[in-house]
Subunit: 141 residues, 3 copies
């Protein structure tokens, strides 16, 4: 057990993720981008430069979403097995499984990708924010 | 973060859902129906009248399950990304992702549907109960 | 609600599982086997004798993993709907849904199996450990 991370914090992280990902999946991209710190980085695609800051992240998300224009697809991010490791500065290293489930109109859902998220969560301030998120893809293995 | 919802409550809601859905998936339909308040409503199918009260909900569930007669299918409800918003009266608005995973004998599991649950949870009394549950279907989008 | 299980404990169990299963899925089999007590039993296959103790469990896991030699496959265990029932001796009976998601290089993920885990968790000592784990398979129904 990670005695260093309280149950209190563990549930807060779950709730933070739930709001963050419902915002993304429901198309509230600004709200989602706003869950990163001002210098927060989001490395959506391995091997490319991460987007830094909410505005750049927002633009990256908008670019990413263009692939679904004319191809309506409901994405849902399913998170699981959240492991939290505290750092000395009070932030949390969070390692999380995620499935992206895609549903097209009148079709059965399918699992698009299986990924692992590598986050650093800033717990200072009045709400949690991501300092960084990097994504690794299982199918790239 | 939703400071208004404690970590205490968040974990209790998860546990409530776990018992409620294991009851349903294991065929304990009365126990499942008993997780609604006396005037609790369950809108299983968009565009139809919701069932109101444990007895009506039980009958609706029994009718729904008839489709699996002669076609044994194990359903499992996977919940994720639970967002809780407290209301002034102490109840909780809960918005939850759910996948219904179906497994037929000797077959690989498949995701039947991807849904979002819109619940109101009554936290008064000695146990949690649903005042209402409405289901929206991603593939209907 | 199971008033007998605190929210504190509920989150701790989630975190325990997250570490335990990330260890397994990332190939840290010794670390995974070490999450069982010295006399802990793991009944991976219904109808066969369970492996008892971390060393025997480790050997069973290694034998199980041999099927993936020459066939690289990333497994991810998704847990859900954790129900905890306390026993008089302070241990917890835990009943958990699990999907095993498999991803092969360059392929879409698929759900290999839908299972239910029947665990007894030892909460004494400095960290949680499993006294026993038995697996039931939905497709065997």
């Amino acid at each position: 057990m990670s005695a260093a991370v309280s149950s209190e914090l563990y549930a807060q992280v779950q709730h933070f993720y739930a709001r963050q990902m419902q915002a993304l999946d429901n198309g509230r991209l600004e709200e989602h981008a706003g869950t990163f710190t001002e210098d927060g980085s989001f490395a959506l695609t391995p091997g490319t430069e991460p987007a830094v800051g909410p505005q750049a992240i927002l633009e990256e998300l908008r670019a990413f979403m263009k692939q679904f224009e004319g191809n309506p697809t409901q994405l849902r991010h399913y998170f699981n097995q959240i492991v939290l490791d505290p750092r000395e500065d009070g932030s949390l290293v969070s390692t999380v499984y995620a499935l992206i489930v895609r549903t097209r109109p009148q079709e059965q859902p399918e699992i698009g990708v299986s990924i692992v998220l590598h986050d650093v969560i800033d717990t200072a301030g009045d709400r949690f924010r991501l300092r960084s998120r990097a994504v690794s893809y299982d199918q790239a293995a």
